[in-house]
């Protein structure tokens, strides 16, 4: 009986394997790789402490020198648009399978591999910077893997008081005397299901056209996405001067830990949703 079972399992496997190899020339699905390059303009960012000479320095439109010691953001709600316009959602309602924390300090997180993407040509990529409101509840039971990743001690991508995830977390230094800067974004939306009654939505949808279409098929394409953090202070929507203790319209405090002044940074990072749908993101290369 036992032997028979083994034998059966074996033959099922053989059949399955046979099916695989038969389709290899023309697979129905393959991986698609997203590679993130976090930069100041064209220069890939090197993180560093207050006085680290190795850290990549940037100067804002307003002349403020700054560099980062920590740089993280959350991606979710990834969708691929086929050449014919059809939209392929990638585990958009499953944070464990479809969301990730990009952490400049961990090289492995800069590459996010979408698996089992249906074969075809793709002309556009959409994703969310942050987590859409319906899923932004720190539901550990539903999404334990993402919860643990985001909550890990070396990651800290949670706004506990808002029972939601942090969408971006940037720590660094600015001005010649290296004053600390600390920019956190996240949503504070609350209200009954589908009925926001208070708070600020920091989730942003990014849309990127692929000048070269990504061909998923026999090979797995790789899309390199540049995230240009020069735009944090010198963005398409807001030109920001960091300053303590003022509330002039173009200025912002260097410590964003609440919804106050947060949207200036959110709109620069993820676009304002009106005439800027890409924020800091652009596609620098598609390799087929």
């Amino acid at each position: 009986m036992k032997n028979l079972k083994n034998y059966l399992t074996l033959s099922v496997c053989t059949l399955a394997l046979a099916a695989c190899s038969k389709n290899e020339d023309n697979p129905v699905a393959n991986n698609l790789e997203l590679q993130f390059n976090n930069t100041f303009k064209e220069q890939t960012i090197v993180l560093g402490g207050a006085n680290a000479s190795s850290a990549t320095k940037n100067t804002s439109a307003q002349g403020q020198v700054h560099h980062f010691s920590e740089l993280k953001y959350v991606l979710s709600n990834i969708r691929l648009i086929k050449a014919d316009g059809g939209e392929i959602p990638y585990n958009i309602n499953d944070l464990d399978k479809g969301a990730t924390v990009i952490d400049q300090a961990k090289a492995s997180t800069l590459r996010y591999v979408l698996s089992n993407v249906p074969a075809g040509a793709y002309k556009q990529l959409k994703f969310g910077l942050g987590v859409k409101t319906e899923l932004n509840t720190l539901d550990q039971l539903r999404f334990p893997a993402f919860y643990n990743t985001a909550g890990a001690n070396d990651t800290k991508m949670m706004w506990e008081w808002g029972t939601g995830y942090r969408f971006t977390k940037i720590e660094g230094f600015y001005d010649t005397d290296s004053k600390p800067l600390s920019i956190h974004t996240g949503s504070t939306v609350a209200g009954s299901e589908g009925n926001q009654t208070q708070g600020v939505d920091a989730y942003r949808e990014i849309t990127l056209d692929l000048a070269t279409q990504a061909q998923v098929g026999a090979t797995a394409p790789r899309i390199t996405i540049k995230a240009d953090f020069d735009k944090l202070l010198s963005g398409k929507t807001n030109t920001i001067t960091l300053s303590t203790g003022t509330s002039q319209s173009d200025n912002a405090t260097p410590n964003i830990h609440t919804a106050v002044q947060m949207l200036k940074f959110v709109d620069n990072l993820g676009g304002n949703g009106v005439n800027d749908l890409s924020g800091i993101f652009s596609v620098s290369q598609v390799e087929n």
Binding site: L138, Q140, W161, A190, G191, T197
Partner: protein
């Protein structure tokens, strides 16, 4: 052999179901006269006998904290009207939180929770302290795993919900049900209002008159809060995580505005202010009298009065003695 096991299993299950009668009666909930409307969430989670019993036990369960030392009750102490006597909350490993612990009383009648009103339904509140680094520093699955090791909880969850499964939702709902039952409406003030024979002393009566004149526009209704958010120019918390109501809304007009606190049982909840700026009630009154900090969004009532609420010593004494009539000894177990 296999068949035997299956039969055995199903037999046992039937037996359990057979002997267990799920009967968890709703508790009577009295609306004190003149209290404002209930929060809508209450109607979807009305207190029941066994869920309240469970909620009370969970509220006092130190397993909610990462190192099994801190329960909700560690900060929300019944003898202080479920507040504590610390300027800022002290949680796990003596970590200091951002804000002062508010009392938990008459929660069913509140439309906004916390100093900044960021929570709108009581059921959504318990997760915050559980996961906050300075409070309990745990996670809901860690809590559930610990509760599953305690046989008594099996029964309690069964009685409350009809089966022994421990879920996050059931934890939140039972704690909220327990909190809904924490109604304080039996102070001297209430008994006088209900005309049960007691009288204000002359000083208390004078204090009540002054209170209605100088305080009741904000500390309104029988809850002694109109549940609005206002900036009354208290010394500000310089922590970058603090922005008052604007932490939630992001609006400059809401900067450092806080929910008007209820003044019921106020004698038991010192120190006062969002991060315990004032040691005593007298300090609060002295501050109002001397003049509060100016701000662009300082409450118009204060602005119209030269940024102060002028009070002479007699008036302060009178108001203080009136505030004492808001003490519900039974509620704080004294």
């Amino acid at each position: 052999m296999m068949t035997a096991i299956i039969l055995f299993c199903s037999c046992e299950k039937q037996e359990e179901e057979g002997t267990f009668q799920f009967d968890n009666p709703e508790l009577a909930f009295e609306l004190p006269a003149g209290f404002p409307a209930l929060n809508n969430a209450f109607y979807a989670n009305k207190p029941t006998q066994y869920a309240v019993e469970l909620g009370e036990r969970l509220f006092n369960e130190p397993k909610f904290s990462g190192n099994n030392t801190i329960s909700c009750g560690s900060c929300h102490n019944p003898n202080h009207a479920f507040a504590d006597n610390k300027p800022r909350a002290i949680g796990i490993n003596d970590r200091v939180g951002l804000r002062n612990t508010p009392p938990i009383q008459n929660m069913a009648f509140m439309q906004f929770y916390n100093w900044d009103g960021n929570i709108l339904e009581l059921e959504k509140q318990p997760l915050v302290p559980i996961i906050t680094h300075e409070e309990m520093n745990s996670s809901i699955l860690e809590v559930i795993a610990k509760l599953e090791q305690v046989p008594a909880y099996r029964d309690l969850f069964w009685k409350a919900f009809g089966d022994p499964e421990i879920t996050p939702e059931r934890i939140y709902r039972s704690i909220a049900q327990y909190e809904y039952t924490l109604v304080s409406a039996n102070s001297k003030y209430d008994r006088i209002k209900r005309q049960e024979g007691e009288q204000f002393t002359e000083t208390e009566a004078e204090g009540y008159r002054l209170f209605q004149q100088k305080c009741a526009s904000c500390h309104a209704t029988e809850l002694f809060t109109d549940q609005s958010f206002r900036n009354v120019g208290f010394p500000a918390n310089s922590d970058t995580q603090e922005a008052g109501r604007a932490r939630v809304t992001g609006l400059p007009a809401d900067y450092m505005q806080f929910r008007v606190p209820s003044l019921r049982n106020i004698v038991y909840t010192a120190p006062y202010g969002s991060f315990g700026q004032f040691a005593t009630l007298r300090d609060v009154l002295d501050y109002f009298d001397k003049g509060v900090s100016d701000a662009a969004n300082l409450d118009p009532l204060l602005k119209a009065n030269g940024n102060r609420i002028p009070l002479n010593e007699n008036e302060k004494e009178a108001i203080l003695s009136f505030l004492e009539t808001l003490s519900d000894e039974e509620f704080v177990g004294q």
